[in-house]
């Protein structure tokens, strides 16, 4: 039986950073990794969660506390506190909240409804833009994503999958056969460091990367169109930002992927997600980490270009620290 529904964290329209053109990005909930720097901490668990938006919304009416059947809400000094050990995310509080200060992260969408929602911007996609499935890990719900991609393809809409690659081989194959673009994350070359920072080693990540590259290289003229592949490496201070890491990722690309990818993007760390951690009652290891300086990004690009990876495909993006 085909997976006809998916747990979706968010749908973002007019998205400019998830592939070419203007896109609608579907963030699916649940991730196979748990990167310490994650910019979408609410996307990691598969289960839906309730959260309280601190700024400017709550009027302190207390209806949420009254409505909670499990008694997991409390009006504290800084607002509504959620005891996540007992909260089952029944969303009773979300329903009664008059200001939408209580939010449910992780709504269930069925395929037809999602397709009609994410094609509303069709006129804005043009030839280049389209729909991106991201996460979490989009391919944790691969069956649904592949089904969606097939429908979009029939409608002539460009599709992209943003994946960290730590997924079953069958999932990877499914998207390679159907999607137009794979945004593939290579974060850390060293297996131990990968394990330390993302909670899983990179065996599967590298294996799937090779699979993607091989598929790309071997595709048959009469077969489905081969997808474009972009490699993306988040540059995180103290985690992925060493020249050694970049050099080793570059060497892997040079060995297996040089001809298959069309770009390798180094993306500088940003600190806009602090409030997301606060909302979830989590502390973030990168709370007071400043933005990376542009010179540092330049140096890393230099290391990447000298690593053996095709220098014409390397670039950096993202915001950087401004002096003064």
């Amino acid at each position: 039986m085909l997976q006809q529904s998916a747990t979706v964290l968010d749908i973002q329209r007019l998205s400019t950073e998830d592939g070419p053109g203007l896109r609608t990005t579907v963030f699916l909930k649940g991730c196979s990794l748990a990167c310490t720097w994650c910019h979408n901490p609410e996307s990691i668990p598969f289960d839906r969660q309730v959260q309280w938006i601190e700024q400017g919304r709550c009027i302190g009416c207390g209806l949420c506390v009254e409505s909670c059947p499990s008694g997991s809400l409390r009006a504290g000094g800084k607002g509504i506190e959620i005891d996540r050990k007992i909260c089952v995310a029944c969303a009773a509080c979300v329903k009664v909240c008059p200001t939408a200060a209580m939010e449910l992260k992780g709504e269930v969408w069925n395929l037809d409804a999602l397709i009609s929602e994410i094609t509303k911007d069709r006129s804005f996609f043009g030839k280049e833009g389209g729909v991106t499935f991201s996460g979490g890990e989009a391919l944790m719900q691969a069956e649904f994503v592949i089904a969606a991609v097939k429908i979009l393809k029939e409608q002539g809409i460009h599709t992209a999958i943003d994946t960290a690659g730590c997924v079953p081989e069958s999932a990877m194959k499914g998207v390679l056969e159907n999607a137009d673009l794979i945004l593939y994350d290579l974060k850390l070359a060293d297996p131990a460091a990968h394990k330390r920072f993302t909670a899983a080693d990179n065996t599967l990540v590298l294996k799937n990367a090779k699979l993607a590259a091989a598929y790309h290289k071997d595709y048959k003229i009469n077969g489905p169109e081969r997808p474009e592949i972009w490699i993306r490496t988040p540059i995180i201070p103290g985690a992925t930002d060493s020249e050694e890491n970049i050099t080793r990722i570059g060497a892997f690309i040079a060995d297996h992927m040089n001809e298959s990818i069309s770009r390798w993007e180094l993306i500088s760390f940003n600190n806009l997600c602090q409030s997301k951690y606060n909302r979830l009652g989590l502390t973030w290891d990168f709370e007071s980490t400043p933005l990376i300086k542009a010179e540092k990004m330049e140096a890393l690009v230099k290391a990447a270009k000298e690593s053996g990876a095709d220098p014409s495909k390397i670039l950096w993006t993202g915001s950087t620290f401004m002096e003064g």
């Binding site: 007019l14 203007l22 009027i59 008059p98 509303k120 911007d121 006129s123 804005f124 833009g129």
Partner: protein
């Protein structure tokens, strides 16, 4: 923080001549020359100089009507009039008087280095009324039952306002440039000769005689300027300047009396024709628009370039036109910020499609782009660039580049397909398909801000009637009268009058459909009420304010021997601008959600909450604000209600024509600043808005409610206008209930345009808007920090332009409330 100031657009590519003229212009009140109002009267006791009905749409100015009248009259210089003056028909008196003043009394100068003549034209001159006419006019306007008091009450009770605004049309400049006034003069003479003797001695004869008098005014003025140029040439220090002045003198011997033969002559002819419209109407310029400048001036541009004109010199001529257009602001130069408060909207249209959807951009189109860029931040003339499905990348790329380089689009973007669908609907609904059809609709252009009209034969009244749609909702909630108290300026309360439809006690309505039917009845009644109010202004205009010079420039007036103010034009429309649209839609959505669908409260509780201005009902208010559906989020159900309301009120307008001039009413949506003016007046609304908070602007979603971003916002706007209909529509499947166009503003953060990659993405947005959006779009690119800083240090941000509701304004001059509003918009922009 100096870095921020440097990001503000500065003019560039200016030749020393233009640089000097520009700097001189910005000296403002310190200049030793200016174009402020010159007043002239007949010297009679009863003389009337100012036309108070001009300001009936501007509530804040209404209290000073008497003071302005008296001071203008005191300042007016009396000029001798012929003994039998008051035995002439009014239109002949007026033609004689304006011409006399312009030719014999208004000083004429050529500014240093200027390539165009025609410098002073802001007039306030006698209405030339006889004693009897004046008494009659006073009875119409003054006293308890007079139009002024009625207008005030209509306004203060929150219905809206109306009054006849001059300007706001596109005269037939193209014809003058091509054939000259001589051609028009001869045409009028022929028509006069065809009149019977009794017609000649009646109003028709008077009208045509007046137009003949007016038609020679430009010739005489050009001759005077020609002589001045010759004198200046003799004294010129450089040979180059001497040659320029001699050429100008030659040009003025030809135009605008005869057709232009060069680009320089064409622009000269255009300017003199245009400035005299403002002189004739005694109106400082708003909305007097040029039409498709890059189309009708192109043959002259091409010919002159082919004959050796340096395109850079051609642009200098155009830049002189820019300077001249900006002197309109001198009218009230001693009051306020160089007289600059907002764009006056001498609009010109460029680019856009021709027949069969082909793009019509040419070299002049791009020269105009250059001029706009080089002359920023000058506000006039106001560019309106037309885009469509076949707009070439070259045009769209230029548009996007210019948006990214200034603090927002230095022009309005008009969208051809949606606009033309509206124009064709107008032709169909008003039975004028012979004059608006597939063979000529592509030649439409816009006036003022974005109001679409036909060109050269269309008396397009566009901002005369402003109707607060949400008032009809109030009348449902209290069965045909005010729900809350409304106040006069002196603080006294208006008595409640049951002057609406008795739609019944809303507490008894069982379904939302029942409620909506009651709303429809009240709304129809309020359209009728507006029409009845406006009819009285129309009588005043038709009777007391002939403009024989303008009548020469609009087809139909000479042919029917009827002044344009009395309905002489071939096409004559008057727009009812719908105000508070999203507030109305959101309020109906909230009623449906709170009372009928979710049954969160009873109608009685909701009515009480509104009477209490939501005080003590905060929970209900929060639900209305945050939980009820809203227009502007691409929510099909909410947008369908928006569409229904739009169709309902817009179609109602077609049912009426004004009595005196026979103008067909039609719908448009341009809120000007009424969403602020009426904020403290109108009752607390069911969408959760308290009395005093801003209403919605034009067709835009309510402030901050478009939480799904610009694409969703654009889709909602397109749907509200009727969307697309695969089997029909009026043009290529497009439907547009608002023929006159509608103002839509979207603010983007500069990040959206930060590099070539993002600019490509932005282009995709514009192409999507062509498919799905409205008729016109104002794009702002701002960030809140910059605005907060500008608010704190206005002296450092004098040139910071913002665009609101389709008009440009300097941010530092818009007043704190509006500044806060703009900042709030920016803060909520999550992109």
């Amino acid at each position: 923080m100096t870095a921020l100031s440097e990001t503000i657009k500065k003019p560039r590519n200016l030749s020393p001549r233009i640089e000097w003229l520009r700097d001189f212009y910005f000296e403002g009140a310190d200049r030793d020359w200016n174009n402020e109002y010159l007043s002239f009267g007949t010297g009679t006791d009863w003389d009337v100089i100012t036309d108070e009905t001009f300001v009936y749409t501007m509530y804040s100015i209404m209290p000073s009507i008497d003071a302005t009248d008296i001071s203008t009259k005191l300042a007016a210089r009396p000029i001798p009039i012929p003994d039998d003056f008051f035995s002439w028909d009014l239109v002949e008196r007026r033609a004689w008087f304006v011409k006399k003043v312009m030719v014999d009394y208004v000083p004429k100068e050529i500014l240093p280095g200027d390539l165009l003549a025609g410098s002073r034209f802001q007039l306030r001159v006698s209405k030339c009324l006889s004693k009897e006419e004046n008494d009659e006019r006073d009875r119409l306007l003054l006293g308890e039952q007079g139009l002024r008091q009625k207008t005030l009450a209509y306004h203060e009770r929150g219905f809206g306002n109306c009054g006849p605004s001059p300007g706001h049309l596109i005269p037939g400049y193209e014809k003058i440039v091509k054939y000259g006034f001589k051609h028009q003069f001869e045409h009028i003479c022929e028509l006069y000769d065809q009149l019977s003797e009794s017609e000649k001695s009646g109003p028709k004869g008077a009208q045509l005689r007046a137009m003949k008098t007016a038609a020679t005014m430009p010739k005489e003025i050009a001759a005077q300027y020609s002589a001045i140029c010759r004198e200046l040439a003799e004294k010129a220090k450089s040979e180059t300047r001497k040659a320029e002045l001699l050429q100008m003198s030659e040009n003025l011997k030809r135009v605008p009396w005869e057709g232009a033969t060069t680009f320089w002559e064409a622009v000269m002819s255009l300017w003199i024709s245009h400035m005299l419209v403002m002189a004739d109407e005694n109106y400082p310029g708003p909305g007097d628009s040029f039409g498709r400048l890059d189309q009708y001036l192109f043959p002259y541009w091409k010919k002159s370039v082919d004959e050796g004109m340096d395109p850079a010199f051609g642009k200098e001529i155009l830049k002189c036109l820019w300077i001249h257009c900006n002197t309109v602001y001198d009218a009230q130069i001693r009051i306020g910020n160089q007289g600059i408060t907002a764009g006056y909207g001498q609009l010109f249209t460029f680019s856009g499609m021709g027949k069969d959807g082909k793009d019509m951009s040419n070299d002049l189109t791009f020269a105009l782009f250059d001029c706009i860029e080089d002359m920023t931040p000058m506000l006039e003339p106001k560019p309106n660039v037309r885009l469509h499905k076949n707009s070439p990348d070259k045009v769209i790329d230029r548009v996007v580049d210019m948006i990214s380089e200034s603090q927002g689009a230095p022009f309005l973007i008009n969208f051809d397909e949606r606009s033309m669908a509206g124009m064709l609907r107008e032709g169909r609904m008003s039975g004028k398909e012979d004059l608006i059809n597939m063979d000529n609709v592509f030649d439409y252009a816009s006036v003022g801000c974005l109001e679409n009209t036909m060109v050269g034969n269309d008396r397009s009244e566009t901002v005369n009637c402003n109707l607060n749609l949400v008032k009809s909702l109030e009348y449902v909630l209290s069965d045909g009268t005010d729900l809350v108290e409304y106040y006069r300026m002196d603080g006294s309360v208006y008595p409640k009058i049951h002057d609406g439809v008795k739609t019944g006690d809303p507490r008894e309505f069982k379904t939302f459909d029942e409620f909506f039917r009651a709303f429809a009845l009240q709304l129809k009644n309020d359209v009728k009420r507006m029409v009845e109010m406006y009819n009285q202004s129309d009588i005043h205009r038709a009777k007391y304010t002939p403009t024989p010079y303008l009548s020469i420039l609009v087809k139909g007036c000479a042919e029917s021997a009827t002044d344009i103010s009395a309905g002489g034009a071939e096409l004559k429309y008057v727009t009812i601008e719908g105000v508070t649209f999203a507030t109305t839609v959101d309020s109906l959505l909230a009623i449906k959600y709170l009372v009928y669908d979710e049954k969160i409260c009873s109608m009685d509780e909701l009515i009480q909450a509104l009477k209490d201005n939501w005080e003590g009902h905060e929970l209900l208010q929060a639900r209305a604000k945050n939980r009820a559906p809203k227009y502007g989020r691409d929510d099909d159900e909410a947008d369908e209600l928006a569409r229904c309301i739009m169709e309902l009120w817009a179609d109602e307008c077609w049912k009426y024509k004004s009595e005196a001039s026979g103008e067909q009413f039609r719908a448009g949506m341009l809120s000007w600043n009424y969403w602020i003016t009426y904020a403290p007046i109108l009752f607390a609304t069911p969408d959760g808005r308290k009395r005093g908070q801003f209403l919605s602007n034009a067709i835009c979603p309510s402030n901050g409610m478009d939480i799904n971003g610009p694409t969703a916002n654009a889709n909602s706007v397109g749907k509200a206008l009727g969307g697309k209909n695969a089997d029909g529509g009026d043009y290529d499947g497009y439907v547009n209930y608002l023929p006159n166009g509608t103002s839509h503003t979207i603010t983007f953060s500069p990040a959206m345009l930060r590099d070539p990659g993002h600019k490509t993405k932005f282009k995709a947005f514009l192409k999507g808007y062509i498919e799905n959006g409205g008729t016109a779009l104002q794009i702002n690119v701002l960030d809140a920090d910059m605005l907060v800083e500008a608010q704190k240090k206005p002296e450092d941000y004098r040139h910071l332009l913002v665009r609101v509701t389709g008009y440009n304004a300097y941010f530092t001059s818009v007043g704190k409330e509006m500044q806060n509003e703009i900042i709030a918009r920016e803060m909520q922009n999550k992109y």
